[in-house]
């Protein structure tokens, strides 16, 4: 996890007051960057201050992260053996023509 995510451990009351400058719409706009850990530190801290007070955004963030994780955790589709064999035959036939 990037350092940005750890900022919620050090949110002070002063930091929380910055919440007023960030709204739910902004959270959605920055959601990708936040989830991917690519948000700059200042914005990240403001966003986390907002999250601290906004259950709605916390839920959206949490369920979006879960959504991504579910798809990542899905058992990978197996390559059927016959598909693999045909792929190698096609390639070998191509090499023979060289």
């Amino acid at each position: 996890m990037r350092p940005c995510f750890q900022a919620n451990l050090i949110i002070s009351e002063d930091r929380a007051s910055l919440d007023a400058t960030m709204d739910c719409k902004k959270i959605l706009e920055e959601l990708n960057l936040y989830i991917d850990g690519d948000l700059d530190r200042d914005l990240c801290e403001r966003l986390e201050a907002h999250l601290k007070d906004c259950e709605r955004c916390q839920i959206v963030l949490d369920t979006t992260k879960k959504t991504i994780q579910f798809y990542r955790d899905q058992a990978p589709l197996e390559l059927p053996a016959d598909v693999s064999e045909r792929l190698h035959s096609v390639l070998r036939a191509r090499w023979k023509r060289q």
């Binding site: 739910c24 879960k66 798809y71 589709l77 693999s84 096609v90």
Partner: protein
């Protein structure tokens, strides 16, 4: 094998394959065929077309191997070939079925979450098989322009720049499709995974 050793080995295989060693190319095929098949299948959504895309991808990769300049990983390079081949196939299929190719009208990135409620752990609600069906249905109902970005970024871990490049769109467009994809999927899954009795928040921002 740790990632740096794997990457070194892959670089060596690519160098040998570029020098004409077909066995090295075949090893590269073995290393990546499953992932390529998975990406292809998720885009074309049937095993026959996915197999065609798989073959086309490695034949094309072999034929244009000299043009691969090793600036990205071999996988990033071939998956771009696969995505193009898969999208072409979907477009051909749509043309035959006389379905509009213009998905741009679907491109509205102002999507707002509606179902805002905490989730239950799916394992407490459904069997593994049922959960899998829910996940599959949700992703296949996502328009292709969003599904492809989500798969490439969140499942295949491709950099956004490579995704934008392979889809022929700008980086900001890829990022906004990604957010739309994530939010739409989240929305679909919320209908299944919502915790019973938990408060549902309004979709309208309160700030």
């Amino acid at each position: 094998m740790d990632p740096s050793n794997r990457s070194q080995r892959e670089h060596q295989l690519v160098r040998l394959a570029q020098a004409g060693d077909v066995e090295s190319f075949e090893t590269l095929v073995k290393l990546h065929a499953r992932r390529i098949y998975r990406v292809a299948y998720r885009i074309v959504e049937n095993s026959e077309d996915a197999e065609d895309v798989l073959q086309e991808t490695f034949l094309k990769a072999f034929e244009s191997l000299q043009r691969f300049r090793r600036e990205s990983s071999f996988y990033t390079w071939i998956v771009q070939i696969a995505v193009n081949a898969a999208l072409q196939r979907v477009n051909q299929r749509r043309k035959r079925a006389a379905i509009s190719l213009d998905e741009r009208r679907e491109e509205d990135n102002s999507f707002r979450p509606q179902e805002i409620v905490v989730w239950e752990d799916p394992e407490t609600l459904y069997s593994q098989k049922e959960t899998r069906v829910i996940l599959e249905k949700a992703i296949s109902s996502l328009p292709l322009i969003y599904r492809s970005v989500f798969l490439l970024k969140d499942v295949e871990h491709l950099p956004v720049e490579a995704i934008a490049d392979s889809l022929g769109i700008s980086v900001p467009a890829a990022k906004s499709r990604l957010i739309r994809a994530r939010l739409e999927l989240r929305e679909s899954l919320s209908r299944h995974f919502r915790k019973k009795g938990a408060p549902v928040f309004s979709g309208e921002p309160h700030h």
